[in-house]
């Protein structure tokens, strides 16, 4: 009885491992930096649904990882990107640099932004030394702020 259970468990583990390798193309895993499973990026300020002035400071928190400027290749580190009014792109591509994707490439953990009045969404995404998201991507919840 016990032996059968162990066999089942083994088979399940094997299946799981197979499924995992199948779902992730090996070419990309080699390039993307691994992130700890419990790593998390989040907003200290503002919080979801907050009314904010036109000019405000976004403060960024990071759990279980460290911050390093862009170009510094060190395991377990990355630099912040603030996504404004946009969705994250494909996770295996470098994060674009434009007005909607603010790179904090010097290792900054806060940034002053000026937004026009209205509703805006903000999201944080950690990028590695080459601006590519980690595996799995360290991505914050997408929050909505109301600029008054």
């Amino acid at each position: 009885m016990i032996a059968v259970q162990r066999d089942l468990a083994l088979r399940a583990a094997l299946l799981l491992a197979l499924a995992l390798t199948a779902s992730s193309p090996s070419a990309q895993t080699a390039q993307r930096q691994p992130a700890p499973r419990n790593a998390m990026v989040y907003f200290h300020y503002p919080l979801d649904g907050l009314r904010v002035p036109e000019r405000f400071t976004v403060r960024i928190g990071l759990k279980e990882m460290g911050v390093a400027p862009a170009g510094v290749d060190k395991p377990g580190t990355g630099h912040h990107h603030l996504l404004i009014d946009t969705d994250p792109g494909p996770p295996d591509q470098p994060i674009p640099a434009d007005y909607n994707h603010i790179h904090l490439g010097n290792g900054q953990t806060e940034v002053v932004v000026t937004l026009p009045k209205g509703t805006h969404t903000l999201q944080l995404l950690l990028g590695d030394h080459s601006h590519t998201p980690h595996k799995p991507p360290v991505l914050s919840q997408k929050i909505t702020v109301y600029v008054r």
Binding site: H44, R55, G61, P69, V72, T77, G107, T114
Partner: protein, 422 residues
């Protein structure tokens, strides 16, 4: 069928009403109230071609006649009408009542009106108890006003007319190294940090490679518009080689330029290559050692600051808590990484501030966050504890000036309370 009949009735009524009003008008035309010859009507304190806010209070002055509410028939009396963006109505009949013809039948001599931005014409016309202009008509000049955009509603902070700001020791056409200190000077205007409201005072903004922003609103904050909200009068500027323009613009507590705006001349500078050999070999910036300050320590921006996001000073925290760090105007880099304007955090628990010219010690009371972490979970025994943050450079040495937080006191659940609960 029923609809048609209804239309017919409406049409007939309209024709009848029109005929009635014409007959009334003709009748009224014969009965215009006389006006004295010296009567004069004018706007108070409003000139032709004036620039006004969209919400404005207009005042009317009548001389030689009296104001009487509509419906009160009196000799040499009447009430005001304001004509907006319209020609004079026919003088022999009552003044129409619509958005272009405002009646002040209560005898008001001032009115607050709201105008859209742009050019508008305004004219006053006096009329008798039946809203019919007098004979001869008493009216003001037709004036044109320009309504400026909405922000005009909030007056900008005043500046002395002889206030001026300028670059110190930096001439138009100067050749400067890629990393140089730019100094700002000011005359007849005071420097106060952003957020401090005061007339004839403000803080500097350096415009790099950009035109003047709109002067009636907040100066943008980006790489081209550098704010010196702490009242700094110098900055270290890093520019790529080539031609650049620099201009200073002073602004008030809300980053809005003054009235009149205080700005420097826009100067051109040429940034030369760092050095011939450096440009030939092109070393990656990470390996290029940043210039050391006179003290030999790594320089830091003088507006950089490190602070506790959590906990706040004087608060009670759990024995096991995550301490969260904030860093302003600098970046975080792991220990050993040489990058200008970066460092890594050190959390000091229950120890005084260490010497600032040597490497921060590494022990249980000096926690090094050498991997660039911005928070740390710690467990403290019950009681009172102090926490302090210091930024260290690649060698764990504090910067120059040192980036040190205030030393905060926190309390971990009181022992008495805990035993009482047990």
């Amino acid at each position: 069928m029923r609809g048609l009949r209804l239309q017919l009735i409406v049409g007939v009524t309209a024709v009848f009403a029109a005929a009635m009003s014409v007959s009334i008008a003709q009748e009224r035309a014969r009965a215009r109230s006389p006006a004295p010859t010296g009567a004069k009507l004018a706007f108070v304190d409003l000139q032709n071609n004036a620039r006004i806010a969209s919400k404005v209070t207009l005042r009317f002055s009548i001389t030689g006649m009296e104001i009487a509410p509509a419906g009160t028939a009196r000799r040499n009396a009447g009430h005001h009408h304001l004509l907006i963006d319209t020609e004079l109505p026919p003088l022999g009949q009552p003044i129409p009542s619509d958005f272009n013809h405002l009646h002040f039948g209560g005898g008001q001599s001032e009115a607050e009106i709201l105008l859209s931005p742009g050019r508008h014409t305004l004219q006053l016309l006096f009329a008798d108890h039946d809203h019919v202009p007098h004979d001869p008509p008493v009216m003001s000049e037709k004036i044109t006003v320009e309504v400026t955009a909405a922000p005009e509603e909030k007056p900008r902070t005043a500046a002395a007319p002889n206030a001026r700001i300028f670059f110190v020791g930096l001439q138009d056409g100067a050749v400067i190294p890629p990393r140089s200190v730019v100094r700002f000077g000011q005359e007849n205007i005071a420097i106060v940090p952003a957020g401090t409201k005061q007339d004839n005072a403000g803080h500097h903004h350096l415009l790099v490679d950009t035109e003047l922003p709109p002067l009636d609103r907040e100066i943008p904050s980006d790489f081209n518009h550098l704010h010196f909200g702490r009242g700094q009068t110098e900055t270290e500027l890093t520019l790529p080689p080539g031609e650049h323009t620099l201009q200073l613009l002073f602004a008030d507590h809300e980053h809005v330029p003054h009235d009149p705006p205080v700005m420097s001349q826009k100067i051109r500078v040429r940034v030369q290559e760092a050095s011939a050999t450096a440009s030939a070999t092109r070393p990656p910036p990470a390996t290029a050692a940043p210039p050391r300050a006179a003290s030999g320590r790594t320089p830091a921006p003088n507006d950089a600051a490190v602070y506790f996001v959590y906990p706040r000073n004087g608060t009670r925290i759990f024995a096991t808590s995550t301490i969260r760090f904030g860093l302003r105007n600098m970046g975080v880099a792991p220990a050993g990484v040489v990058r200008p304007n970066t460092g890594h955090h050190h959390l000091l628990i229950d120890v005084p501030t260490p010497p600032l010219d040597a490497a921060i010690p590494a022990d249980l009371n000096h926690i090094h966050l050498g991997n660039g972490q911005t928070e740390r979970k710690i467990t403290l025994p019950p009681g009172e504890h102090t926490l302090q943050l210091i930024l260290g450079d690649d060698q764990h040495v504090p910067h120059d000036p040192p980036i040190v937080s205030e030393r905060i006191t926190v309390y971990v659940g009181s022992a008495a309370k805990r035993s009482a609960r047990r």
